[in-house]
């Protein structure tokens, strides 16, 4: 089993990243590359699906902080969805819902871009 992997799907100009495994200081580099790749190619409308993510540390949280401003400055956003209660509690405890839109369903996140 891989520690962490990302799958990417594009739907009507929106890029959806599917995270699988655990996101810590070691694996967060992969997520950073994936988001950097999208932003570098002027793709600013991003949905991140957490359905298969089992763990996140502050290193993982930091990756989203690093790209959200650029995405929003270019009429885009990084919207988060499908978190388990365990993962959501980490985001919530630190106040991330102040800055990030977090949806229960992927469809809801996608619809918000239209």
């Amino acid at each position: 089993m891989e520690d962490f992997s990302i799958k990417n799907r594009e739907l009507q100009g929106i890029d959806i990243l599917y995270l699988d495994g655990f996101l810590d200081a070691h694996t967060s580099v992969e997520l950073e590359k994936a988001l950097d790749n999208l932003i570098s190619n002027d793709k600013y409308k991003i949905v991140v699906n957490f359905e298969n993510l089992t763990y996140i540390s502050s290193a993982g949280l930091g990756v989203f902080m690093a790209f959200i401003e650029t995405a929003r400055n270019n009429s885009g956003d990084i919207k988060l969805c499908s978190m388990s209660e365990k993962i959501y509690n980490i985001f919530d405890m630190l106040g991330f819902p102040i800055l990030f839109e977090i949806y229960k369903e992927e469809n809801s996140a996608i619809e918000k871009f239209s």
Partner: protein, 147 residues
Amino acid sequence: MKNSADCVYMEKINKIRVSSSTKNLAKLRNFIEKNAIDSGIDDSTINQIIMSVDEACTNIIKHAHKFNENETIDVETKSDKGQFKIILMYKGKGFDPNDLSSPDMKEYFNNFKVGGLGVPIMKKFMNKIEYVRLNSDKNFLTLIKYL
């Protein structure tokens, strides 16, 4: 001395040594999880302890050892007297998390800051954090959770 002998018998101690690399964070989390389960700790508390240890070790790897994999971190867990303790022993530049005040999160998000959340997470999830530096190069960081 019956009481002290009983205490020694009751105390569960487990140790692991890993090289100072983020590659070993998963191994450390598994070690903590196994020992916390063996100590009868509930899932929610285990998750808090695991994340706190991850954050502490990540800081050691980054700041004390600057990703030098030749350095090591010794991790020891102790479960006794209603407390689960994790003791991290490492060489290099020390740091007492108690010296760092938690950021104002409203300001943090307004300014799109990155990083600096490891210590606030440790402080939020653990009941007590103790830091001791010995012999000018040996650091002991103890994370304590009351059960």
